[in-house]
């Protein structure tokens, strides 16, 4: 027997959905949109036109020379090809420039390998350790038949990468320590951590670099000296530690207190609780802000220009001082910006992907 509420026929198919909002509609749908489209297209056309005119049509390509650059009205790409080594490697002895090249490759590969979460683990830490020791030996030389090169002669891309790696690598444990200290119950570590974090976050990085490069030699006993690159690296480390500490503190605060209480109830000591239960969860919840802070620190390494160290930007400026070429500022700065953009943009996309992936995982 059929009941009135039982369906006897299959449900009717829904009428086909028509997507009325086509691209045309979005661009020219109504008056204001149409005006906006036309105005934007006009602006873009003018800007693109001028850029192509300058950068492609009237440009001097790498087979040109200085005279051609002076005569032309467009971009001087020949300068970049001529000075590429100086911009990328600074005043490193020309015969040994395979060493900074290899250094940059090693650091970039290690960086890329650290990104996929499957690779995270003890082996990665070991790989980084071996990588950094290798890189420092390569750049410094003096062993295994390599000619010794003092740090005053290092420059360009390897210095930027080394400073970034050092600042983040040494700053991260320090930041975790500061964050844990800020949440401690004992008043002394808490006050010290708050003081350190607030003071460093309130100061510009330029002043910290001044302290490291000018004051630190004054405050060491006579005869003891720290290398200039190491001093700048220390300033960047302390700076990133303070900012990373705040991010980690956010992660620690978002963790329910029950996790800590349950681990203590199970008999884990404070250190085991922190290392095995609290930190992994806290860090996982702030992966995106951590990556954003890493991007900011990579960009901040360009400030060592102010204290006279030769990183990528500084080497670029030094290359511009060559009198034989008409100074192509825009080309050089765009090239340097493009290198930074490549690194930082990939990291920011990676951070978005990571955030998406971990928000899925969280609900289990």
């Amino acid at each position: 027997m059929t009941h009135a509420y039982l369906a006897t026929q299959p449900p009717q198919a829904l009428p086909p959905t028509t997507n009325t909002v086509t691209l045309w509609h979005r661009l020219f749908g109504d008056a204001i949109t149409a005006i906006a489209t036309v105005a934007t297209l006009a602006l873009l056309a003018v800007a693109l036109g001028k850029t192509i005119n300058w950068g492609v049509l009237h440009a001097v390509w790498p087979d040109g020379d200085a005279a051609a650059c002076r005569a032309a009205s467009g971009a001087c790409w020949a300068f970049l090809s001529e000075k590429l080594r100086q911009i990328l490697f600074g005043i490193y002895p020309p015969g040994e420039q395979w060493r900074p090249a290899l250094t940059s490759v090693i650091l970039l590969v290690l960086g890329a390998a650290s990104l996929p979460p499957v690779c995270w683990g003890k082996r990665l830490v070991l790989a980084w350790f071996v990588g950094i020791v290798t890189v420092l030996l390569l750049m410094r030389g003096g062993v295994l038949g390599l000619a010794g090169v003092p740090t005053a002669a290092w420059g360009g891309l390897p210095v930027t990468l080394l400073l970034a790696v050092f600042a983040l690598g040494a700053g991260f444990p320090l930041g975790i320590l500061l964050a844990l200290g800020r949440r401690a119950e004992m008043p002394v570590p808490r006050m010290l951590s708050i003081g350190v974090i607030e003071i460093i976050r309130g100061l510009p990085l330029v002043s910290l670099l001044f302290v490291a490069s000018i004051l630190l030699p004054l405050m060491l006993p006579d005869g003891m000296s720290i290398d200039g690159l190491l001093r700048a690296g220390a300033a960047l480390t302390v700076f990133s530690a303070a900012y990373l500490a705040e991010v980690v503190r956010g992660g620690l605060q978002s963790l329910p207190r029950g996790q800590g209480e349950a681990s203590r109830a199970l008999g884990l000591s404070w250190w085991m609780m922190t290392r095995l239960v609290v930190l992994p969860q806290a860090l996982r919840s702030v992966l995106a802000p951590l990556t954003n802070t890493a991007i900011v620190m990579i960009k901040n390494t360009s400030l060592v220009l102010i204290v006279g160290l030769f990183d990528l930007l500084s080497s670029g400026r030094a290359a511009l001082a060559d009198p034989a070429w008409p100074t192509p500022y825009v080309e050089t700065y765009c090239f340097i910006a493009a290198i930074y953009f490549a690194i930082c943009f990939s990291l920011s996309r990676y951070s978005m992907w990571l955030e998406a992936r971990y928000s899925q995982h969280r609900s289990h």
């Binding site: 020309p94 004054l218 006993p221 000296s225 006279g308 009198p323």
Partner: protein
């Protein structure tokens, strides 16, 4: 639990060490010579690329008058002119770098002034007498300072030129507008791009810039700015008399060698000279080296590896170089200049 014990132990050690360290300093003077010997090379401040005074060539080797002054010190201490390392410093950093101990000596075109002398530096002996000058484009039609009314002047901070521009502006009521940069390359580029009407620095540095960086050197004219001269002198820190003596007398070797007619070519034959002055100078008659704590052949080595002042000048900034500067005040006193050798007894 065990980790806690380890942390406590470390903290105790740290407190004990810091307490000990606080009782340490009983040395009154520092011992730069020992530090340099231990390090194995002399650290000298250099510019960021002033051709003729201190600049690296395409192979990364440093060349220049100040570089050779530094190499003389390296020869005196180590016997090898390559045991010198150069730290590029801009005008703002150079004095603090010396004061705070980053470098051992600053032979980098630094004027001898009262305030610098009083503020922790000791000036040894001038290696170049200089006057400050303006460089302007010829088509502006300016030939002297008095015509520079309202001009904007590119000048480097941390140099005596900064003060000179302000003084000239006040004294001659020129209303000069200084445009300040903290490094030389920026200052020069601003001048050549037209940001300033004139650039002011030492006349020899301007000649170097015009020869090496101007597209068409004949388009520019250099004329004296204030008419005052300055002594560019290698400087060391207060508090180390022995190092001060070594730096001073290492440079004096070059002047004395020219005064006595000793050159790089004839120094070997001069060893057999009958003149007692030359014998004492070159170390055939010992005594000078011991007095300074150096090898007895220190002066001989300097002349053998670098030449005398005339050769050093000629090679770096004189007729044998792209700058082609006249000796001017830098001639020996005998020839009407200011270079005066002291007595090597």
């Amino acid at each position: 639990m065990f980790a806690l014990k380890k942390i406590c132990a470390l903290l105790l050690l740290g407190a004990a060490w810091s307490a000990h360290a606080q009782t340490a300093p009983d040395v009154v003077t520092s011992n730069t010579l020992e530090q340099v010997r231990a390090r194995g090379h002399v650290l000298c401040g250099a510019s960021q690329g002033t051709v003729g005074f201190s600049s690296p060539d395409a192979q990364g080797n440093w060349k220049g008058l100040d570089v050779d002054t530094c190499r003389a010190i390296a020869v005196a201490v180590f016997g090898d002119k390559d045991k010198a390392r150069f730290v590029p410093l801009n005008g703002q950093q150079r004095l603090t770098a010396l004061q705070t101990g980053q470098i051992d000596v600053l032979p980098r075109t630094t004027s001898w002034t009262l305030r610098r002398d009083a503020n922790g530096l000791n000036f040894t002996t001038p290696n170049y007498y200089e006057y400050d000058a303006f460089m302007v484009r010829k088509d502006l039609g300016i030939k002297s300072t008095a015509e520079m009314n309202g001009a904007s002047v590119c000048v480097q901070t941390g140099s005596t030129n900064e003060v000179t521009v302000a003084d000239l502006s006040k004294k001659l009521k020129l209303n000069l507008k200084p445009v300040l940069f903290d490094n030389n390359p920026a200052s020069r580029q601003a001048f050549f791009s037209g940001r300033c009407d004139a650039i002011m620095t030492d006349a020899s540095a301007l000649a170097s810039v015009r020869a090496s960086q101007a597209q068409n050197p004949d388009d520019y004219i250099i004329f004296p700015a204030s008419g005052n001269s300055e002594a560019l002198t290698p400087a060391v820190r207060h508090g180390d008399d022995r190092w001060f003596d070594i730096v001073k007398w290492s440079f004096q070797v070059l002047i004395a060698a020219e005064d006595m007619g000793i050159t790089q070519a004839n120094v070997d034959s001069m060893l057999k000279s009958d003149d007692p002055r030359i014998a004492r100078f070159l170390g055939t008659e010992p005594g000078n080296g011991k007095a300074l704590g150096l090898d007895e052949k220190w002066a001989f080595n300097i002349v053998k590896q670098l030449g005398n002042y005339a050769e050093v000048f000629d090679r770096n900034v004189g007729m044998g170089s792209p700058l082609k500067l006249e000796r001017g005040s830098n001639r020996l006193y005998r020839n009407g200049g200011l270079m005066f050798p002291f007595v090597f007894n």
